[in-house]
Symmetry: C3
Subunit: 478 residues, 3 copies
C-alpha cells in the first residue's frame, strides 16, 4: 500500500547515521564535563569547603526526571489519541526527542555554555536540552500524522537551532525572564509548527479523515500523557529557576494554576459540547493550558490567587479555541493543526507572556525584598526599573513570534522537498506506512477456518490493520 517514496529503508538509516555521527564528532571536539561532573574539578571544589551533598545534581535531578517523563511519556502518549497512529506518536516522539536533546546540547551550549572554546555540561544543560526538545515536540503535534520520520528529523534539526537563537536573544540580549518557557518553548514551538503545517497544507487531507479521530482505548492511552504532563508541570516550570524560594514558589504557583484550569476546562467543555457531554479532546489538552500560562510568571510573586486567575482564563480560552477557532483556522487559513497546539500552547503561551510582562512591571522591593535579586537582577541592582522589565518581556514575545513565524516559513518549504518520503493524502494518520503492524493470527487464521479469507484479505489490503480493528466488524450476508 505504501508508495515507494515512503519507503524508509535507506532514507531513515542514512539520516540517522549521518546525524548521529556528526553529533558524536562534535561532542568529541567540543563537549566537556562541567565542574560538577568532572572528577578532578569537583574534587578540588570539595577540597575548598564544598560538600558532595552540595553538588547541583541533588537540587536539579529530581526536576530533570520529571521533565524527562513529560517529554517522552507526556508528549508521546498525549499524541496516541489517533486510532491508527499510536506507534508513530510514541515512536517518532521518541526518535526526534532523542535526537533533539543531543543537538540542543550543542546549540544551547554554543550560545550559553562556552568556556574556553568548550561546552561544559551537567544536569542544568540536560534540563535545558529537554526543554528545547519540548518545543520541537509541540511543533510535531501540529504536523502529526502527515510527515515522515525523516521530515521530522530535518524539522527538529532546524527548529532546535532556531530555538537556541531565539532563547539567546530573549534571555541574554533582551534580558527577559522565562523560566517555564511560556514564550521560548510554548509560543515558539506552537507558531513554528503552525506555519510549517500551513506550508505543508494538504487540500485533500479529508481522504484520511476517517483515521483522524480517536477510538475508546486510544483516548485512554492519551490520558496517560495528559496526566503526566499535568502532574509534572510544576517541576517543569521550576526546573531551572533560582534555588530556594523561587523554585518552591514556581512549583506551587503552577500547581494552583493547573487546578483552577482543570475546573474551567470541564465547565467549558460541558457548556460548549454536544448535549452537555464532556469532550475528551478538551480534557486531554485544555486542562494543561494553566501550566503553559504560568510558565513566565510562575517564578514571580504572582500569588496563588493570581495563578488561579491565570489558569482559570487559560482553560476557558483553550476550550473556546478547540471548539470555535480551530475549525476557522483550518477552513480560512488552511492550517491543519492535528493536535490543536494553537489552543494548548499557542494562545496560552501568549497569555503567559502577557501575564509575565504585567507581573514583572509591577514588581516592587516592598514585595520581593532582597529576593528581587534572584528574580529580576537588573531591577534589583537599579540598572532598570520594573516597568522596563515589563517592556523587555513584551519585546521578548514579539521576537519569539517573529523568529517562530519566519523560521517555520523557511523550514516548511524545506520540508516540502519531495525526497523526504511524506505520506500521500490517502494514508495520513496511519502507522502501517512506516511500521510493521503485526497481524493477529485471528485476522487471517480465523478467516481461513471459516472460509472468509478472501474477504479478510481484501479488507487488509485496502485498509491497514490498526487500532480501529479493535472495533472491527465483518459480517457477511448470504
Amino acid at each position: 500500500m505504501a508508495q515507494a517514496s515512503t519507503n524508509m529503508r535507506l532514507k531513515l538509516p542514512i539520516t540517522c547515521f549521518i546525524l548521529e555521527i556528526i553529533l558524536i564528532i562534535l561532542f568529541g571536539v567540543l563537549v566537556q564535563y562541567n565542574h560538577e561532573t568532572d572528577a578532578k574539578e569537583w574534587y578540588n571544589e570539595t577540597q575548598s569547603g564544598h560538600s558532595n551533598y552540595e553538588n547541583d545534581f541533588y537540587y536539579r535531578y529530581p526536576s530533570f526526571q520529571d521533565v524527562h517523563v513529560m517529554i517522552f511519556i507526556g508528549f508521546g502518549f498525549l499524541m496516541t489519541f489517533l486510532q491508527r497512529y499510536g506507534f508513530s506518536s510514541v515512536g517518532f516522539n521518541f526518535l526526534i526527542a532523542a535526537f533533539s536533546l543531543q543537538w540542543a546540547t550543542l546549540m544551547q551550549g554554543f550560545f550559553h555554555g562556552m568556556h574556553g572554546g568548550k561546552i561544559h555540561i551537567g544536569v542544568e544543560s540536560m534540563i535545558n536540552a529537554d526543554f528545547c526538545t519540548g518545543s520541537v515536540l509541540i511543533s510535531f503535534g501540529a504536523v502529526l500524522g502527515k510527515t515522515s520520520p525523516v521530515q521530522l528529523l530535518i524539522m527538529a534539526m532546524f527548529e532546535v537551532t532556531l530555538f537556541a537563537v531565539n532563547e539567546f536573544v530573549v534571555l541574554s540580549v533582551v534580558g527577559a525572564k522565562d523560566a517555564g518557557g511560556s514564550m521560548t518553548i510554548h509560543t515558539f514551538g506552537a507558531y513554528f509548527g503552525l506555519v510549517v503545517t500551513r506550508i505543508l497544507y494538504r487540500p485533500n487531507l479529508d481522504k484520511s479523515k476517517d483515521r483522524n479521530s480517536s477510538v475508546y482505548h486510544s483516548d485512554l492511552f492519551a490520558m496517560i500523557g495528559t496526566l503526566y504532563l499535568w502532574m509534572f508541570w510544576p517541576s517543569f516550570n521550576s526546573a531551572v529557576t533560582a534555588h530556594g524560594d523561587a523554585q518552591h514558589r514556581t512549583a506551587m504557583n503552577t500547581y494552583y494554576s493547573l487546578a483552577a484550569c482543570t475546573l474551567s476546562t470541564y465547565a467549558m467543555s460541558a457548556l460548549t459540547a454536544h448535549d452537555g457531554k464532556l469532550d475528551m479532546v478538551h480534557i486531554q489538552n485544555a486542562a494543561l493550558a494553566g501550566g503553559v500560562a504560568a510558565g513566565t510568571a510562575g517564578e514571580m510573586m504572582l500569588t496563588p490567587f493570581g495563578s488561579m486567575v491565570v489558569g482559570f482564563l487559560a482553560g476557558i480560552i483553550s476550550v473556546l479555541g478547540f471548539k470555535y477557532l480551530s475549525p476557522i483556522l483550518e477552513k480560512k487559513l488552511k492550517i491543519q493543526d492535528t493536535c490543536g497546539v494553537h489552543n494548548l500552547h499557542g494562545m496560552p503561551g501568549i497569555l503567559g507572556a502577557i501575564v509575565g510582562a504585567v507581573t514583572a512591571s509591577v514588581a516592587t522591593v516592598e514585595i520581593y525584598g532582597g529576593g528581587m535579586e534572584a528574580v529580576f537582577p537588573d531591577v534589583a541592582d537599579g540598572t532598570i526599573d520594573a516597568s522596563f522589565q515589563g517592556v523587555r518581556q513584551a519585546i521578548a514575545l514579539a521576537v519569539t513570534l517573529g523568529i517562530a513565524l519566519l523560521g517555520g516559513l523557511i523550514v516548511g518549504f524545506i520540508l516540502k522537498l519531495p525526497v523526504f518520503g511524506a505520506p500521500p493524502d490517502t494514508v495520513c494518520f496511519e502507522d502501517s506506512i512506516y511500521w510493521e503492524v503485526e497481524q493477529s493470527p485471528h485476522h487471517t487464521g480465523e478467516g481461513t477456518e471459516t472460509g472468509d479469507v478472501r474477504h479478510v484479505k481484501a479488507h487488509a489490503t485496502d485498509k491497514t490493520w490498526a487500532l480501529s480493528d479493535f472495533t472491527f466488524l465483518v459480517c457477511e450476508r448470504n
Copy 2:
C-alpha cells in the same frame, strides 16, 4: 439514551464556575506564601544563616510528586477496570481531585495553618491537600459508576470539610499520630464512602450489571494504577513525617509491608478463587493493603519484621473481604461498594490504626532514645506515658469512624436530591451518559459495505459503544 436529567450542559458548568470563583476569591482574601515560598521572607532567612539548599522544597517535593502521581494516575487508572467507564474513572478522578486539592488548602489551612488571619502555604500544605484529596477519591471508589460529576463535586466539598475537621480533632485535639493516614485518610474515606453508597442504594442496579465488570484491556489499564500506588506508597506514608530517620524509616517499613502483602495476596487469591486461578480484582487491590495498614505505625520503630507481619495480615484480610464479605455487605446491608474500598481501605485502615495504637503503647526510651521527640513528643517530654499514647490512638480511630459514618449519612441524603443528574439504574457504569464517545468509522462504515447497517445501527442505539466493543461480535445467520 441519556435522560434529560443527566444532561450536564448547565449543571456542570454552573457548579464548576461557582466553586472555582469562590475558591479564587477565598484564596485572594486568605492565602499567602509561607516563609519558604515568599521572596522577601526567605531572603531574610538566608541572611540569617540559612542556605537556599535548606529550603524544605528539596526535602519534601520529591515525596510530593510521588503522592501527586498516586492521586491522579494511581487512583485514576485503578478505577479504569470497568469496561465502559474508563473516561469517567480517569476523568472524574481528575476533576474532583483538582477541586479537592484547592478546597483542602483552605479547609486544612483554616484548622492548621492560620498566621495572623492568613493561611500560609508551601510544599507541606500541598502534600496535605493531596492527602485529603486521596480520602475523597477513596469514597469515589465506593460510588463509582453510579454518580454524576456534579454529585461528586458536592460530595467532595462536604467530605473535604469533614476530613479537615476530623484531622484537626485526631491530630491536634486527641494528640494521635497518623503520618500515613491509616485513620484520617483510609478509614475516614472508606467508611464515609460506604455510608454514602448505602444511602444511595439502588435496588435495581443489576440492570447495569453487564457493564459492572472488566474486560481484558481494562484490567491492564487498572494495573497501571495499582503499580503506581504500590511503588509510591513508601513516599506517601513518609511524606509528612519528621525529617531524618523518621522519614527514612517510614519509607522502608512501608516497602517491606507491601512486599509481604503482595505474597499473601497472591497466595490467598489462588486459594480462594475458582480453579486455583488468580483473580485480577485481588491483585489490583489487596496487594496494596500493606501500604494502608502501615500508615499509622510506619514512622514508629515497627521494625521491618513487624512491618512484614502487618502487610502479610493485611493481604489476607483484604482478599477474604473481597471474596466473602463484600457479597454479604451488598446483600444484607445493601452496600454497593463498586471498587471494594472496604477491603482495600476500610479494614486495612482499621488494622493500621490498631497496629499504631499497640506500637505506640510499647514505645520506650530504650528503643527510641532521643529520637522519641520526633515521633512521640508528648511521651518524650513526660506529659504522658507511652501506654496513654496508645489510648489516644484508639480514641482517634473511634472519632474517625464516628465522623465518617455520621458525615456520610448526612452527605448521602444531600446527594439523593434529584437535581444533580445521577444516572438511571439502567445506564450506570457507562461513559456515554457524560462523555462524547467517539464512533470508529468501522462501526458504521464496514456495516454498510457488507449490508449489515441496520443490525449495527440497531445495536448502536440500544447499547452505547465503549470498551466492550473491542470484543464485540456480530454474526448474522441466514
Copy 3:
C-alpha cells in the same frame, strides 16, 4: 482447558506462604535498622553534628524510586507485548519482584551488610535489593510464557542467592567496579536465563506460536515499559555510585549513551526490517541497550563522547542480534528466548563490561585528580595500577559468565521437575491458565441474540478469550 497439573490452588499458596513465613522469621532474627533509619542511632548522630538533612534518604531515595518504577512498571509492561499474556507479564513480574526484593535483602545483607551478626538496612540496601530483583526479571524475560508462577518463585529463590554470591565475588573478592551492573545485573541475568530456557527447551512450542506475538494494543502497553526503562536508566546506573561528581556524571553519561543508542536503533531497524518499516520489537528493546552498555563505565570518566560511541554501538549490536542471531540461537542451540534478553541484556552487558575494563585500564591521575579515590580506590592509594584494574574488570566478566551459566544449568534442571505446574506446549503464552479472564457480556450475550451462540461458545472453549480478541473476527458462511 488448563490441565490438572497447572492448577495453582494449592501449589501457589503453599509456596507463597512458606517463602513469606521464612522471610518474616529470618527478618525477625537477622535484620535491624541501620544508623540512618534507627531512631536512637540517628538521633545520636545528629547530636554529634549531623543535620537531619544529611540523612542519606535525601540523596538516594529519588534514585531508588526511579529504579523501583523500572522494576515494576518498566520490566512489567515491557513484557506485555504478548497478545494473551498481559496479566501474567505484569502480574508475575509483580509477584516475583515482591519476593525477590525481600530475599535479596537477606542474601546481599549476608554478604555485604553484617554488623555483629545482624543485617543493617536502609535506602542503599533497598536499591541493591531492587537491582538484584532486576536480574531475576531479566531471566524471567527469557522464559516468559513458558513457566508457572511457582517455577518462577523457585527460580527467583536460587537466582537471588547466586546473584549475591557473584556480586560478592566480583565486587569484594575480585575488586571490580560495576555500579550500573553491566556484569552483575545484565550479563548475569541474561545468561542465567538463557541457560534455564535452554534446559527447559520445548520442541513443540510452535503449537503455541500463534500467541507468541503482539497485537497493536499490546505493543503500545509495552512502550510504557520501554520508555520508563529508558527515562530512568540514568538513575539506575547512578543509584549507588559515590555521591557528588560520580553520581552526577554517571547519570549524564547514561543519558547520552541512550540518546545515541536510540538513533542507531531506528536506523538499523529500518535498514534490516521488511520494506524499510520499523519493527516495534527493536524499538522496544534495542533502544535500551545503551543503558546496559553504560552500566560499568558510566561512573568513570568515559566522557559524553565515549558514552555516545558506546550507546551507538550497543543499538547496532542489539538490532542485529534480534534480526539475525536470535533465530540462529533458537534453531541451532535450542534457546527459546521469548523477549530476546540476549540482545538487550546479554551482548550489551558484555559490551559494557569490556568498555568498563578498557576505560578503567586507561585511568590516570591526570584525568581523575583527587576524584580517583571515589572511582578506583585501589588505584588511588597505589595498591594497584590502572591497567590491573582493567584486568580485574575482565576477570569479573569471566566470573559472572561462569556463575551464570553453571547456575542456570543447575536451576534449569530443578525447574524441570514436573511438580511445579508448567503449562503444556499447546497453551504457552496464555493468561487463562493461571488467571481468571473476564468474559465480556457481549461475547456470549450478543451471540445469543443473533443465534450464533454455539459458534461463540465453541470458540470460547478451545481458545481462551484474551487480548487478541480485540481483533477477533467471526464470520459464518452458509
